[in-house]
């Protein structure tokens, strides 16, 4: 019965969440994708248990729209199922799925001329002294930090989420965003400076 399968998978998903989402074993990924390519249904269910929730959360972040995010996750798993044979293992399984979701989000939002995806040309925040910045962030309340994150443009928030929430490696994030791994690191630092600036702005408001 499909209902019970979904429920048990949610339990598995919760356990997987607690363990962390990503696999660091490319061999496992390859074996897993082989099962998917052969059309094994339980491989799809495990894939969903492992990545469904993270991908959904990422899709909400990209689109700010839960309905659209659901469609994106659906699209992503269907595309993964059909395209499993073309997976070459250059990035991890997680990076592959996040990459599919991101491309699909871009396609959809471009079609709808959605206002929430900004281009990467947004303002860069000047490099202030690192120590006061770090202390301000470390001492900020959680609510203030969340508000500041909400105010952050996507191109700053995205690398932060991919690393800190979805726990992807720098290499995988580079693959997803289509930038070199070194650039991922500078993006992360720029994002943190922007977060600090957003915090200061919240405070003056």
């Amino acid at each position: 019965m499909p209902g019970s399968v979904v429920e048990s998978d949610l339990c598995v998903a919760t356990i997987e969440l607690a363990r962390g989402w990503m696999s660091d074993r490319p061999d496992d990924d390859q074996a897993f994708i082989g099962r998917l390519a052969r059309g094994e249904r339980d491989a799809l269910e495990h894939l969903y248990a492992r990545y469904g929730r993270a991908l959904y959360s990422y899709a909400v972040e990209l689109t700010h729209d839960r309905g659209l995010a659901e469609e994106l996750v659906q699209d992503t798993f269907v595309a993964a199922w059909r395209g499993a044979a073309s997976f070459r293992g250059q990035a991890s399984l997680g990076a592959w799925l996040f990459g599919i979701a991101r491309r699909r989000a871009h396609d959809r939002l471009r079609r709808a001329a959605h206002p929430t995806m900004e281009l990467d040309s947004a303002l860069e925040v000047p490099d202030e002294d690192a120590l006061p910045e770090a202390r301000a962030l470390a001492s900020a309340t959680r609510v203030a930090l969340r508000d500041a994150l909400d105010a952050l443009p996507l191109h700053h928030r995205e690398p932060l989420s991919l690393l800190l929430a979805y726990e992807l490696s720098g290499r995988d994030i580079g693959a997803i965003l289509g930038i070199p791994e070194g650039t991922v690191k500078s993006r992360l630092h720029a994002a943190r400076r922007a977060l600090r600036a957003a915090l200061a702005e919240e405070r003056t408001r």
Binding site: P2, G3, V5, V6, E7, D9, L17, G20, A37, R38, G39, R41, L44, E45, Y48, G52, R53, A54, Y56, S57, Y58, V60, E61, A69, E70, V73, Q74, F77, R82, G83, A85, A130, L131, E133, A134, R135, A136, L137, A138, A140, R142, L145, R146, L149, D150, L160, S161, L163, L164, A165, Y166, E167, L168, S169, G170, K185, L188, H189, R192, L195
Partner: protein, 297 residues
């Protein structure tokens, strides 16, 4: 305090993404360096907020069911062709260990006998006529044994797979007909090489049609009435055909002549008749029901 500050490693340390040995060395530095410690604290605070934000959104409980539903709905229509072909090939090859093993030597023996008789009768009967008697018999016996409770040692296996019994039937038919075709073609080529055949294509044409028709008829009879009936009918038709060919003037078999002529023909109609028999078998399969098959077994 070390002169080198591993500030690029700190976000990954906060995310728990650093390899263990690297994490230990960065952690060691952080403990002795106030500015890196402050930096790591900042990353940890950010990480916590980012995680909290990202776990706030949970997908609806039925999302997996919707994905599965979409895949089921479009499975046949939108799978990449290469993946579908591979799956079908796997399905056909996967039948090899499941069908009765006697099929392979029995077919080979019947076709080999046909080839030997053709050689012995060189000058008395054409190789095409002889092969048109033996190749169809091989297919008839093989396909009679292909399906049904008394022929399915792997029935539990078949029940455990999500593949429809119709598709399994077609896969097995493909496998057995493929085997018989390969054997008959090899023998025909050998006969040609030994000078007993004549032109290859007309020779193949003589046995191909009857082979497909009698084979598919036996498949349909085996599915509908069981293997024994199918083999008995096939043998009766075969004997009648031999009599008819060897003593055309007898007139004893006159009532059967239209039936025999319908089976032993090699033209487009032959393919249509074989296809109809196959369609009937495929149509009959689910009506029998796997439960009934198990009971009978």
């Amino acid at each position: 305090m070390s002169a080198f500050h591993p500030i690029d490693a700190l976000p990954e340390l906060a995310a728990g993404r650093l390899p263990v040995d690297e994490a230990a060395s960065v952690q060691g530095h952080v403990e002795t360096c106030a500015s890196c410690r402050a930096d790591l604290d900042a990353w940890r605070a950010v990480a916590e907020a980012v995680r909290e934000r990202s776990t706030a959104a949970a997908p609806p409980a039925d999302l997996l069911a919707r994905i599965v539903g979409q895949l089921d709905g479009s499975r046949a229509a939108r799978w990449p062709v290469s993946q579908r072909l591979r799956w079908l090939l796997d399905l056909v090859v996967g039948q090899i260990p499941i069908v009765r093993r006697e099929i392979w030597p029995a077919s080979a023996m019947l076709i080999a006998i046909g080839a030997v008789v053709s050689l012995l009768l060189t000058g008395h009967a054409s190789a095409g006529t002889v092969m048109a008697l033996f190749a169809p018999l091989a297919a008839a016996v093989g396909l009679s044994l292909v399906y049904g409770p008394d022929n399915d040692p792997g029935i539990e296996l078949a029940l455990a797979t999500p593949v429809s019994p119709r598709l399994v039937l077609v896969a097995r038919m493909t496998l057995v007909v493929g085997w018989d075709l390969a054997l008959a073609l090899t023998c025909t080529l050998l006969l040609g090489a030994l000078g007993a055949g004549g032109a290859l294509l007309p020779l193949v044409g003589m046995w191909l049609g009857p082979m497909l028709i009698l084979g598919c008829l036996c498949l349909a009879m085996a599915v509908a009435m069981g293997t024994r009936v199918a083999i008995a009918v096939a043998m009766a038709l075969w004997a009648a055909r031999i009599l008819e060919v060897s003593r055309p003037s007898d007139g004893l078999l006159a009532p059967l002549t239209p039936v025999l002529d319908a089976i032993w023909q090699s033209n487009v109609a032959a393919i249509a008749i074989a296809a109809t028999a196959l369609a009937v078998s495929v149509w009959l399969i689910p009506r029998l029901g796997v439960g009934a098959a198990l009971e009978a077994g």
